[in-house]
């Protein structure tokens, strides 16, 4: 509104006159609307015939014009409308001014039921998707085994570097830390440091790495790169999913072994500082306490976890639709689902190894 900027702090509106004829002086705008509505509604209801003089208005904006149109619809006569205000009133008056459509309100308990149903439906579809994805992976694996030339050693080794070698420092540090914690908590009896404990740190790291799978593939999907591959007759499955999967399946057991070694080192450190057991003595005790099966259990679980982590990561990457926010959403879902699957399979493994007595 012209004039509004100079009196920005408080655009004012004075309502003068009496009985059937009121006049507005000042700015009728979004900031004076409430005042005008309160004063004029009362006046409109008390009187039978109404004339509103708007010739002294120095500013009128769209909400103000809406209000005047509303009054006009309710048989209030507007007097002395300035030509430039008339243009605005015409524009606003020409609109239908329908109220916003609102989605019908749903009671809280029904929302709960609906959400529960949606959740179950999603879970069902997810289960099918994962099964289909695992099946496709298996068939791609089979194909690759029969035609080893279709494997891409370069991209597999790049994936091993990304998921394995680049993860060495953090995995090593975590293994040492965890063994220090366990050492402190059970100083008296030197517990065997099997592969068991370190799988936890490994899983944490590999699940986080899997975010990269989802994000990489997801961004490619969002930028239509996957469609481009398809249009060239190339299989995104062979090109993107298999190398990541094989890479992680190779890298994770190696990482497990590395973490075991680092954990033993951490154990030796804590033994030296707390119990004054020399490293060579410690090594002997470890050899007595730790069986081959401890190492074996950790190494067997690793590729299975790797398979599921890579599956979930790649699957959600391919599920990305169009936008960047979709990449973020799928990545979060992938991490949650991967952690869930890993915990489930860890539990199954524990039961299994207990039964076979390992």
């Amino acid at each position: 509104m012209p004039g509004a900027h100079s009196q920005w702090s408080s655009p004012t509106l004075a309502i003068e006159g009496n009985d059937d004829r009121l006049s507005l002086d000042g700015v009728l705008g979004i900031r004076t609307l409430d005042q005008a509505r309160q004063a004029l509604e009362r006046w409109r209801k008390q009187r039978k015939s109404h004339v509103l003089d708007v010739s002294k208005l120095s500013g009128l904006d769209m909400p103000g014009a809406m209000f005047l149109c509303e009054l006009r619809d309710k048989h209030v006569e507007l007097a002395g409308v300035q030509p430039e205000h008339e243009a605005l009133l015409e524009l606003i008056g020409g609109l239908q001014r329908k109220p916003l459509t609102k989605p019908p309100a749903v009671p809280r308990w029904r929302q709960l039921v609906i959400q529960l149903g949606k959740g179950a439906d999603d879970f069902w579809h997810d289960a099918i998707d994962i099964t289909v994805f695992v099946g496709r992976t298996m068939s791609a694996f089979g194909h690759a085994l029969r035609h080893p030339s279709s494997l891409r050693p370069a991209s597999i080794s790049r994936q091993i570097a990304e998921t394995g070698i680049n993860a060495l420092p953090i995995v090593g540090l975590m293994a040492v830390m965890i063994s220090v914690v366990i050492g402190y908590q059970s100083v008296a009896q030197l517990r065997p440091y099997g592969g068991e404990e370190f799988t936890i740190s490994l899983i944490a790291v590999s699940v986080l790495r899997e975010m990269a799978f989802t994000a990489e593939i997801g961004v490619m999907k969002a930028r239509e790169e996957i469609d481009a591959l398809n249009s060239m007759g190339l299989q995104p499955f062979d090109l993107l999913v298999l190398p990541r999967m094989i890479g992680l399946i190779i890298a994770l057991p190696l990482l497990t072994f590395f973490a075991d070694i680092m954990g033993l080192l951490g154990g030796a450190m804590i033994a030296q500082s707390l119990l004054h057991v020399s490293p060579s003595q410690d090594m002997e005790r470890v050899r007595e306490a730790v069986g081959v099966s401890d190492l074996f259990v950790g190494l067997v679980k690793a590729p299975v976890f790797a398979f599921f982590i890579a599956t979930v990561g790649c699957m959600h990457g391919l599920r990305v639709r169009g936008s960047a926010e979709s990449v973020g959403r799928e990545t979060t879902r992938a991490v949650v689902k991967a952690i869930f699957l890993v915990i489930v399979f860890d539990a199954l493994f524990s039961v299994f190894f207990e039964k076979v007595g390992l």
Binding site: H5, R31, D34, M62, P63, L88, L91, L100
Partner: protein
């Protein structure tokens, strides 16, 4: 804004000596620009000529390396947030609608922040703005992800109009749109300018928009700016401007211009 278009000779916005550099590359070399109240000004230039950076400088989102921008004679960085919101509405290139809010919630957000109006009143105002930009009433409850490109631009325009700003800045309002939708947006811009008296600044390389909607055009070439009416620019000796306004694509736009002016 208002229907009362002020007849002041002073420009509503003026930029003086704007210099913008990115590394060694100088994008703007002491650019001066005046925007008159009530006009539609187009800012044109090739890709990478610094159109969008100039727009961001004009609305105070980008701090220039030197130079100043004045709105109503006041430096832009001295204007308070609330006053600025009522002064300037911006349509960003991708719409920049908040993806977690519905269209009507997007339009109501500035009102919610800056006015004390009851929610029912805000909803009415939002409904009118949404209708004004040509969106159907049932698209008000939709979320940005459910809208087509043209609808996103319209919804973003409705949000830019939420507080009845006196100036509207549009960054590529017709890019990525089919020609029919683009023409409808052009028509809408004219309607807002002529009907509501809003001053409009458009950054675009859409020749049809430039030639049919804009009163004056500012062309950025090699960091310098040339401002004038289409007729004046058409006589320019600058090779880029000459090619731009006389190239094969300009011929069709010129026809559209004659057609439009014939109607008006």
């Amino acid at each position: 804004m208002s229907a009362t278009r002020s007849k002041r000779t002073e420009p509503i916005l003026s930029a003086r000596g704007i210099v913008n550099r990115f590394g060694k590359q100088q994008v703007h070399d002491r650019v001066d620009l005046d925007v008159e109240a009530g006009e539609v000004l187009g800012i044109a230039g090739g890709s990478g000529s610094g159109k969008s950076v100039l727009l961001k400088t004009l609305i105070g989102l980008h701090q220039p390396d030197s130079g100043k921008v004045l709105i109503d004679g006041k430096p832009i960085d001295s204007i308070g947030a609330q006053e600025k919101a009522a002064l300037i509405g911006v349509l960003f290139q991708q719409g920049a609608l908040f993806s977690s809010l519905s269209v009507s919630q997007n339009v109501m957000l500035p009102m919610r922040e800056y006015t004390d109006l009851p929610v029912s009143e805000q909803e009415q105002i939002a409904a009118v703005k949404i209708e004004l930009t040509g969106l159907s009433a049932d698209s008000a409850v939709k979320f940005p992800a459910q809208l087509s490109g043209g609808m996103v631009k319209r919804a973003a325009l409705a949000r830019a109009l939420a507080l009845d700003p006196r100036m509207l800045f549009l960054d590529e309002p017709t890019s990525d749109l089919d020609p029919l939708t683009a023409s409808a947006i052009d028509e809408l811009i004219l309607q807002l300018n002529r009907g509501l008296g809003i001053t409009v600044v458009i950054v675009t390389h859409d020749l049809t928009t430039l030639l049919t909607v804009c009163d004056r055009i500012a062309v950025l070439v090699d960091g310098k700016i040339t401002v004038g009416t289409v007729e004046k620019l058409a006589r320019s000796h600058d090779p880029w401007i000459r090619d731009f306004l006389h190239g094969p694509r300009a011929q069709g736009a010129m026809k559209a211009r004659r057609f439009n002016h014939g109607i008006r």
